[in-house]
């Protein structure tokens, strides 16, 4: 229980702004917060509030102007590009709104992609991929191409791809944004199950209050500032 409450993500005085011509637009301003290990956090807020920017910073795919991001003891803001790429491959599982599967690869091959960066043998990779696809309920669709799967099934493949390396955190950017209500419900149930049964720390950006309800904690981001919100 104590282990579950350990802060796996520690953000201190994080700021980020974008430049549009000569104008500097602040997106995140001096944000400080922590996410305990095993947390399922929903980040909500209006469009342009900086939710996705914050998520990108946490996932190490964007760089902050100032501040610190400590994830599982690693200060990722100081990592070089190549170190950051390696860190991402080991510690972050990313779930996108539009699934972002590679259309010419089968479900199996899509899920196998992150494992190509590891030293696992072909047999070991196969075992991992089959397990991940079994977890998301698509063991029988391994040889299907994304175009042969429904939106919900494609998102489940994307989730399998995100968890196949057993990452430290899962980040999801509007994971149900492109799905009908039924499929969205299935995806949220799956994420909930991953959180409860596997103890995965999940940080999810969403507009959808129903999706946010699945999270343990909801935080609102508005005008670049994070507000403590209801649990």
């Amino acid at each position: 229980m104590n282990q579950a409450k350990r802060a796996i993500v520690q953000i201190r005085n994080l700021s980020k702004s974008y430049r549009r011509g000569s104008q500097i637009i602040p997106v995140l301003e001096d944000i400080t917060f922590e996410i305990p290990d095993g947390e399922f956090l929903a980040l909500m807020g209006p469009s342009g509030s900086g939710k996705s920017t914050l998520l990108n910073l946490l996932a190490g795919i964007d760089s902050a102007d100032s501040g610190s991001i400590l994830i599982n003891g690693v200060e990722i803001t100081t990592l070089a590009e190549t170190e950051l790429a390696r860190w991402r491959s080991l510690h972050v599982g990313f779930i996108f709104q539009f699934y972002n599967l590679i259309p010419v690869l089968t479900a199996f091959e899509n899920v196998e992609l992150p494992l190509l960066l590891t030293r696992l043998s072909r047999q070991e990779r196969r075992a991992h991929v089959e397990t991940a696809l079994r977890v998301v309920g698509l063991a029988d669709r391994m040889d299907h191409y994304p175009s042969q799967l429904s939106g919900g099934q494609q998102q489940r493949v994307a989730i399998a791809r995100a968890v196949v390396t057993d990452p430290t955190i899962l980040v999801a950017d509007e994971p149900t944004g492109d799905l009908d209500r039924h499929s969205a419900g299935e995806i949220l149930d799956l994420m909930d199950r991953l959180n409860r049964e596997s103890g995965k720390t999940i940080i999810m950006v969403t507009h959808d209050p129903r999706a946010a309800e699945k999270a343990h904690v909801i935080r609102y981001l508005e005008k670049g500032e994070l507000s403590d919100a209801s649990q």
Binding site: T53, N56, A59, I61, D62, T82, A85, R86, R88, S89, L90, F94, F96, Q97, F98, N100, I102, P103, V104, L105, F108, E109, E112, L113, P114, L116, L117, R161, D178
Partner: protein, 385 residues
């Protein structure tokens, strides 16, 4: 799965676009190969030249003859192993379109200087014995369906009248670089005839072919020959067979340069086409590359995917182009055998095809790779949806 599988699948993701690009490369490589082969054919005479043969001609111009009496004086010069002579006859067989080179030569001695012309000894003896005897190349005999013993009539252009010859020998080339479209007949037959008709043109030859004992001393021997006839009525110019052949080519150098330029322009055009295809491809997949980077793939992985895809497309087109070059060259060579008796696709041409395709593939991938590698992940992901 390996990334190479993805690379292959990516290359054929847009089948129509890729097929059309490959078709373009195939045609470009075919054109490039054919143009290079034309240039090789142009230089075939130079390539077939021997370092141990010198050509002595009139110093003023090739059209001016030399006295037959020079033969013995050339033979006595130190370093000369053998001397023979010949004259360009320029006869026409039935019609001008049937052009082929024909020379009046001292058959036996002349052919001894050309070991690359393989002629059965009995045919050589027969041709030598018969004043009207002639020897032709295999391709020439096949072209007109001539057989040993056939009578061949040429219409003289330089030496007027109809000239009758009897085919006594058919030579073959030692290898495929040897010209098999020439005709040789006895110079004595020509000389005996013109003694009667145009005596002032008798006892003269167009050139001497000189065999040297040591090819390394060819330049000295050439100087000695020309020195021997200095201040005579017919001064000589002696040069290596290669220089002699190059002298002919220099007359048409502008054409050769134009063909060379066109061959490189073809490659530049196809480079632009492939670069455009790769740029479109990379622009469409910029989001995918961002996903790859999100998953932890590095710049060199992305570069490998784009360069690999570009090379798969160009090398596929190249292989098809090379495969088509051989039958195309064969058809082209047989159609234009009058002008290009030797029209073989050289190994160096194939290497140039491969190098051109490789360069096109690499150059076409440079800009898309730079774009895909340098784009920020967040910007790339925004392109999706």
């Amino acid at each position: 799965m390996h990334l190479s599988k993805l690379l292959w699948k990516n290359a054929f993701r847009h089948r129509l676009r890729t097929s059309l690009t490959i078709l373009g490369i195939t045609i470009a490589i075919l054109s490039f190969g054919m143009l290079r082969t034309v240039i090789s054919a142009w230089y075939a005479g130079v390539d077939a030249s021997s370092a141990s043969r010198l050509v002595t001609r009139n110093a003023i111009s090739l059209v001016f003859p030399l006295p037959i009496s020079y033969k013995d004086r050339i033979r006595q010069i130190n370093g000369v192993q053998a001397v023979s002579y010949g004259s360009w006859f320029g006869g026409i067989y039935i019609d001008e379109k049937n052009f082929f080179p024909n020379f009046a030569v001292e058959i036996e001695n002349y052919l001894k200087l050309y070991p690359e012309f393989v002629l059965p000894p009995e045919q050589l003896t027969a041709a030598n014995r018969d004043r009207k005897g002639c020897v032709v190349g295999r391709k020439l005999a096949e072209r007109f369906g001539w057989k040993i013993g056939d009578t061949i009539v040429l219409k003289g252009t330089i030496y007027s009248g109809d000239w009758e010859f009897v085919l006594r020998g058919i030579y073959r080339g030692r290898d495929k670089t040897v010209d098999e479209t020439q005709m040789f007949f006895n110079w004595k037959y020509l000389n005996e005839t013109i003694i009667k008709t145009v005596p002032r043109r008798a006892n003269q030859v167009g050139f001497y072919m000189v065999g040297v004992t040591n090819p390394n001393r060819a330049a000295d021997v050439a100087l000695d020959i020309d020195g021997a006839f200095k201040n005579s009525l017919a001064e000589t110019l002696t040069e290596t067979e290669k220089a002699f052949q190059l002298g002919f080519i220099s007359m048409t150098e502008a054409i050769v340069i134009a063909i060379q330029l066109v061959s490189f322009v073809v490659i530049i055009i196809i480079m632009a086409v492939v670069a455009n295809t790769m740029a479109m491809t990379a622009r469409e997949r910029i989001g995918e590359y961002a996903v790859f980077k999100t998953l932890g793939f590095r710049g060199y992985h992305i570069a490998g995917l784009i360069f690999g895809e570009s090379l798969v497309i160009t090398m596929t087109g190249c292989v098809l182009g090379i495969a088509l070059t051989y039958p195309a060259a064969k058809a082209f060579g047989s159609t234009l055998s009058n002008y290009f008796p030797i029209f073989n696709v050289a190994t160096s041409t194939i290497y140039m095809d491969l190098a051109a395709a490789l360069i096109v593939g690499i150059v076409a991938a440079v800009f898309p790779t730079w774009r895909a590698v340098t784009i920020r992940i967040a910007d790339g992901l925004r392109r999706i949806g």
